[in-house]
């Protein structure tokens, strides 16, 4: 007779967080991460399913059951190696991936209770490794070929890491003064500490990758010029252009794009002004327009910078909000107000160039639209005005256009994204692309998945050459 199996807990092991009242006033990380005891307890909940449906949900195909098994055995060193076989940025993914829609959505445990918290396990391992100091992983012998990567965001860094491991000489060109792309300029410190982004970018440099800052491809060099010096080029320039609502009053003072607001706060550390030179203005009544992660990040930054009343204004209902579930919970705990089924009509100035109020209209939901979400319809006569002195517009980003404008023969869609095949190959030989520049605004992990695929395709292309 076999031993009776220990009963598996249905509930996820909770993770310690900073107290909402306290954290609403600081930029320290909200979620504190698992302890060794907690991580093993959570790992014990994994059923080690033979079919591993979790892996199918992962855009970079991390061998999830294998690394969880190693955690159960407390072999953290081997566990992180297992993760890093597929994912070069685990401390980042453990924090910002929408796991509930990916690996965890497929978890068998989710059918009887909470899915296994794959993200928290991954985060623990990455943080554990960073504390120990990174080992340098095995690399293939040099191929003698050189690859240029445009953009040091999630797609570019992933492609760079994979190509370096395959023995290529890789140079990443980044226009900003720090690597990380959206990880450094977009996602706030309290959700993703910048020292973690710096450490993971540092790990990629340890693989032998050169990251050149302050180089804007399309202006300093064109893609054609890169092709004279490199055997292949990968474009991962992302979706970094802010969308505005095109309503009256949008250019009043006190009105920011979420990008401007977050770049000031995150990349330029305006939360430390005047020690840090870049200022940011946050008034008392802040409205953030949009329902995604960027909107939530902006609202939570505004709160931390002294906003007394910070309201998210979103035109659909809570169910349609694209934000990561954990973050909307965190935001509400901190006191962010949600004004749902509401859309701004115009911004009203105070006569001296500053915004003082916002006229909105209530919405109802109709049939699903092209995005699959129910279409918002204005309710005529429901207009109302709310007092605001700061407005942050977080309704999405569009692709960076510079490369497309300066690269002849590069096929582009009418939305400005670059056309590629399934493996990232563009219309120009030797030029590959991936991430938001191909798909339009999406997630960090999907961009990493695209970087991975393109690296594989570039390797195949250069092996044949």
């Amino acid at each position: 007779m076999s031993k009776p199996k220990p009963k598996i807990k249905k509930e996820v092991v909770p993770m310690c967080k900073q107290d909402p009242k306290q954290r609403g006033r600081n930029f320290n990380e909200v979620a504190k991460g698992y302890t060794q005891e907690q991580v093993v307890a959570e790992a014990e909940r994994c059923l080690q399913c033979a079919k591993a449906p979790c892996i199918q949900g992962c855009p970079v195909e991390v061998d999830i059951p294998a690394f969880i098994q190693l955690i159960k055995e407390r072999r953290f060193d081997e566990a992180i190696k297992k993760v890093k076989e597929k994912n070069s940025l685990p401390a980042i993914c453990g924090r910002v991936c929408p796991q509930e829609e990916q690996c965890q959505a497929n978890c068998t445990m989710g059918k009887v209770g909470d899915p296994v918290s794959v993200g928290r396990l991954e985060r623990f391992l990455a943080d554990w490794e960073r504390k120990q100091g990174y080992g340098i992983p095995d690399k293939s012998a040099s191929t003698g070929s050189r690859v240029a990567i445009v953009g040091a965001g999630p797609a570019g860094l992933t492609a760079a890491a994979d190509l370096a491991k395959l023995g290529y000489e890789v140079v990443v060109f980044e226009a900003l003064h720090k690597p990380g792309g959206v990880l450094i300029y977009g996602i706030p410190e309290f959700r993703l500490p910048k020292k973690i982004v710096e450490a993971e970018a540092g790990f990629i440099e340890k693989l032998g990758v050169t990251i050149k800052m302050n180089v804007m491809i399309g202006r300093l060099y064109t893609v054609d010029e890169l092709l004279e010096q490199f055997d292949a080029v990968f474009i991962g320039t992302g979706a970094g252009l802010p969308r505005f609502m095109r309503i009256p009053g949008e250019n009043l003072c006190g009105v920011y794009s979420a990008n401007e607001f977050l770049i000031r706060v995150n990349l330029m550390k305006a939360y430390d002004f005047p020690r840090s030179d870049t200022p940011v203005f946050v008034g008392e009544k802040v409205a953030v327009i949009g329902g995604g992660n960027t909107a939530m990040d902006s609202a939570r930054c505004a709160l931390r910078l002294g906003g007394k009343e910070v309201t998210i204004v979103y035109r659909r209902s809570r169910q349609e909000m694209p934000v990561r579930a954990e973050e909307v919970e965190n935001a509400e705990e901190e006191g962010i107000i949600l004004e749902l089924l509401t859309n701004p009509r115009r911004l009203i100035g105070n006569g001296r160039g500053w915004v003082k109020a916002m006229e909105c209209i209530r919405m109802s939901l109709g049939e699903p639209d092209a995005s699959g979400r129910r279409r918002p319809i204005p309710i005529e006569g429901s207009e109302f005005t709310m007092d605001v002195d700061t407005v942050i517009i977080a309704i999405g980003r569009t692709p960076n256009p510079i490369i497309q404008q300066t690269t002849e023969g590069l096929e582009v869609t009418k939305w400005g994204t670059i056309v590629t095949d399934d493996n990232g190959k563009t219309s120009i030989q030797g030029v590959y692309a991936g991430g938001d520049i191909v798909t339009g605004q999406a997630t960090v992990i999907s961009a990493m998945g695209a970087g991975k695929k393109a690296a594989k395709a570039i390797h195949q292309y250069l092996m044949k050459k």
Binding site: A175, L176, L220, L241, C253, E260, P274, D277, I402
Partner: protein, 275 residues
Amino acid sequence: MYRIAMKQELVPHINLFEFSAKEIASKTKPGQFIILRIDENGERIPLTIADADIEKGTITVVCHEVGKSTKQLGSLKEGECILDLLGPLGKPAVIEKVGTVLCVGGGVMVAPLYFQAKAFHEAGNKVIGVIGARTESNIIFEDEMQETCDDLYVATDDGTKGCKGLGFLKELLKERKINRVIVMGPVITMKTVSELTRPHGIRTIVNLIPIMVDGMGMCGACRVTVGGKTMFACVDGPDFDGHQVDFEELMARMKMFIAQEKLAFVFHQEGGRKL
């Protein structure tokens, strides 16, 4: 790190810098700008390029000490380095042969105006220069402009040198056949000149450097209304049709952080980062 290859105080509080930046120098065209950051806590400062020397591998900018960051830049010495330098940014100015070009510059922007005046001259145009400053002692690049321009006028706000104010342009525009006007300077100067040329229907190009952060189209802080449409000065400009720009809005937007700028200035005067 980018080295200051040469620094020269043109007049008190206005300095000329040559930065060693070989690659940027080889790609720079008149009308473009750079963004620099002095140190790890530094803000991103946009400055219009005033010259580029491919052989020496340097670019030139001229900067007026007006706030915390520009004052700090002014305190740096030849041979010292700044942390970051990005460029060239923005679309180059359209330099073409049109006949007679009137180049009007005010304050520190006379320096980058010279870069354009030179290019228009080399393209075979007759160039009339107008350089202005608040007062006589603030006039820069007079000799350089004198050399390049077929005619040069000097104007000061207080009348200490040359004409008092830009009112004389009214007559000039009537008397001379001018095919293109380039204005670089404070927003109010660009607005005034654009209004003066409007009745004559002369194409008037203004070079706008509003408040900006990244300088590559990401933040939208530099948005300006041009012909009723929102444009980003950093990627759609910096050159725009002066007759289409909403200068009132631009002037309001330029003041958005005025309180913070004062605070930073005072904070750093009082010992700054030691606090």
